[in-house]
């Protein structure tokens, strides 16, 4: 066989698929990859024939493609409770295997990543990046400086990536699965659009059923896994990748997205014996959060923006993950907690008024101190907050505070801003129901299709018309069951 030869794979479904042979295919720890001639699919085979022949491995792959598959509706043989809609949603979040190869040998078919996760023509003036996949290290490590500015996104997009990833991991964990090798290599990100995709799904761990195959990737392996790596694989004290180790890797990635640095890589020298020994201690048994408030031994001298510049909720979660839970896996916050706290922080985003600020957005933590932590610019423009109130069940006319959102010019409002029983997640309709405009020094809310929106005086606000959001205005977002009230406050 030589480079460029077209070979045919037969799938277990009976279909056939052509792929292009390469003598030196891209190779990961477990598998190597060929592509179909149109590059729409990747055909992957195991490096080690023992893995390919293992019945357990084959069974694992078959169940990942079917009953554990969140990208396929339950009707089509996918995960339990999965609808067409949630399947469509998660198809954009995971690069999930779609088929099992029977011949020439056991293997996997995966869709290739969407185009946005490959660098285009002008990604870098100094590096040959065209066509390379967007591993997050490009954006969070020191290579960042070689990328063109148009690739880098802003703080808001990085927060959006974090939300998307937390949601994907939450979905896996909800189904009882662990990814087991979440890392900068297995999560591709596109800061331009704030999207992420989780790849290399086939090492999924099903607790008590399919044990982990890999240890993980340097920098993302949980400390307890590194600390007990020397032990025999049957030793009950040996820690293996699982849901709890995903819950270490997840905040490491989130921290990297938000701060562009690694939470454990600081100046502390743990051992002078060798680099390998030092690194093992730094990532494993002795790991210390660079922002640990009680142990400053690993704290860089020049930390500028820290977790205290985020929302209080996020600061608490990072401390829980990297101080309380770093060596105590059961203390780590769940993916669901990360998702909802990141969403709360999303609601507190405000644009920086400094046009040259790279980050463009920041999380407003203290209304009395509206200062961008990245560039130090103080907000001078008035700020408007919408407080959403939900009806207490069974008590007509009695409302309680649900969420608060800072608004900005052009902000879209969705069903989760209208109804208290709808959340910003994969189940919500993606259509914009209303939006905010800053016009002639007025804040306007324009109805874009919300039914039963009522003005403060109780008049219907038809589609296409606007209401002014003055301080103290109270409007009804939807005069329907579970419809919320919104109160405007100028700060």
């Amino acid at each position: 066989m030589k480079n460029g030869d077209i070979l045919t794979a037969t799938l277990e479904s009976g279909e056939t698929l052509e792929y292009v042979f390469s003598a030196n295919p891209p190779r990961g720890g477990m598998k190597h990859t060929f592509f179909t001639p149109d590059r729409k699919y990747a055909v992957q085979f195991f490096n080690n024939p023992r893995d390919a022949q293992s019945m357990l491995m084959q069974e694992r792959i078959r169940s990942i493609v079917s009953i554990y598959n969140p990208t396929l509706s339950e009707k089509q043989g996918g995960a339990l409770g999965n609808t067409e809609k949630t399947a469509d949603y998660f198809r954009t979040k995971f690069c999930w295997p779609v088929g099992v190869v029977k011949t020439p040998e056991f293997g996997i078919v995966c869709p290739t990543y969407p185009q946005g996760f490959f660098f285009g023509e002008n990604a870098s003036a100094v590096l040959p990046l065209k066509g390379k996949d967007k591993k997050s290290t490009w954006f969070t490590g020191r290579n960042r400086k070689y990328l063109n500015k148009s690739e880098l996104g802003d703080f808001r997009m990085m927060l959006k990536i974090a939300i998307g990833l937390a949601r994907s991991v939450r979905r896996l964990h909800q189904a009882g699965l662990a990814h087991s090798d979440l890392s900068c290599n297995n999560v591709l990100i596109d800061p331009k659009t704030g999207s992420s995709v989780v790849i290399d799904i086939d090492s999924l761990v099903v607790p008590n059923k399919y044990a982990p195959e890999v240890c993980g990737t340097r920098g993302y392996i949980a400390p307890e896994v590194l600390a007990t790596m020397e032990r025999d694989s049957n030793d009950p004290h040996r820690c293996l990748p699982c849901v709890q180790t995903d819950l270490h890797a997840l905040p490491v990635l989130i921290y990297e997205y938000l701060f562009l640095r690694h939470p454990l890589m600081g100046p502390k020298i743990y051992s002078t014996e060798s680099a390998e020994k030092d690194d093992h201690l730094a990532m494993g048994p002795m790991a210390t959060f660079i922002e640990n408030p009680d142990d400053r031994s690993n704290r860089p001298d020049d930390l500028d923006v820290t977790i205290s510049s985020l929302s209080e909720g996020l600061e608490k979660l990072f401390l829980q993950a990297f101080v309380d839970g770093l060596h105590n896996p059961s203390e780590r916050p769940s993916a669901m907690e990360w998702e909802s706290e990141l969403l709360r922080a999303w609601n507190r985003l405000v644009p920086c008024e400094n046009e040259d600020c790279d980050k463009k957005w920041f999380i407003l933590r203290d209304e009395k101190e509206p200062v961008c932590p990245f560039c130090g610019t103080r907000k001078t423009q008035p700020l408007l907050k919408l407080g959403f109130k939900s009806n207490i069940r069974g008590k007509h006319g009695i409302f309680r505070d649900k969420t608060e959102v800072y608004v900005y010019d052009g902000m879209p409002l969705f069903d989760w801003h209208l109804f208290s029983n709808i959340h910003n997640d994969e189940k919500a309709e993606p259509e914009m129901r209303a939006y905010i405009r800053r016009h002639n020094d007025m804040w306007l809310l324009i109805n874009n299709g919300a039914e039963g929106m009522l003005s403060p005086s109780g008049r219907l606000v038809p589609k296409g018309t606007a209401i002014e959001l003055r301080d103290g205005v109270l409007l009804c977002m939807a005069d329907r069951e579970n419809g919320m009230l919104a109160e405007a406050t100028v700060i």
Partner: protein, 213 residues
């Protein structure tokens, strides 16, 4: 913010004796070009790997000092003369001692170096002197490639346990060898899922290459 990234030093020891003249040396030139370009496309390799080239013919010298990939300049390779492999090892030992940062209470040391040695002949100088010099430094992982029919495998075996055999000195095989080297560097730069101090897991050698047991 300060950088706490360790470097992965990579040394290429290249045989530039007279027998490499013509197609083989041109293939090596192309191979280095492809290697650097490939590594620049890998974020972890780009962050950690540093590259140096040591050539040997009648004598040995370091023609490219250990340099980060973006600043690396392709060296001028000329094939002529004998095969001073022993001297090359001595130069390697000197370079490792001078260039590779060791861990101290105030400095994060570099990873153990990765050495790729390519030779198409038998040494014409004293190998033992070179071996003795190399023993005094931490050389890390040395992978030797015996290129072509005249390469002396048993000599290379005295330097390292990792010996590959490339049967032909064709441009195609040389390109594959360098592609494999880049795969190995990429794997090392992100691995360390290996236990500390243990040899890194390298990808399987390309088709047509034999691992010498």
């Amino acid at each position: 913010m300060a950088d706490y990234i360790r470097r992965l030093p990579v040394y290429l020891l290249l045989d530039c004796s007279g027998s490499m003249a013509g197609e083989p040396i041109e293939a090596v030139r192309q191979g280095i070009k492809a290697l650097v370009s490939e590594l620049k496309g890998d974020p972890q390799a780009l962050e950690t790997a540093c590259l140096s080239v040591i050539t040997f013919n009648s004598s040995a010298r370091q023609i490219s000092p250990l340099t980060e990939l973006l600043l690396f300049k392709e060296p001028q390779l000329v094939a002529s003369g004998a095969t001073a492999l022993g001297a090359a090892l001595t130069v390697l030992a000197d370079c490792i001692r001078d260039e590779v940062r060791t861990s101290t209470p105030t400095q994060k040391g570099d990873w153990k170096p990765l050495v790729f040695l390519l030779s198409d002949g038998a040494p014409t100088d004293k190998l033992d002197d070179g071996l003795a010099a190399l023993k005094k430094v931490t050389a890390g992982n040395i992978i030797a490639c015996a290129a072509g029919a005249n390469a002396n495998v048993s000599t290379l075996k005295r330097i390292t346990n990792n010996v590959l055999m490339m049967n032909n000195l064709t441009a195609g095989d040389m390109a594959q060898f360098f592609a494999w080297v880049s795969g190995s560097i990429k794997a090392s730069s992100k691995s360390i899922d290996a236990k500390p101090g243990e040899a890194v897991q390298l990808p399987p050698p390309p088709q047509g290459f034999v691992i010498v047991p």
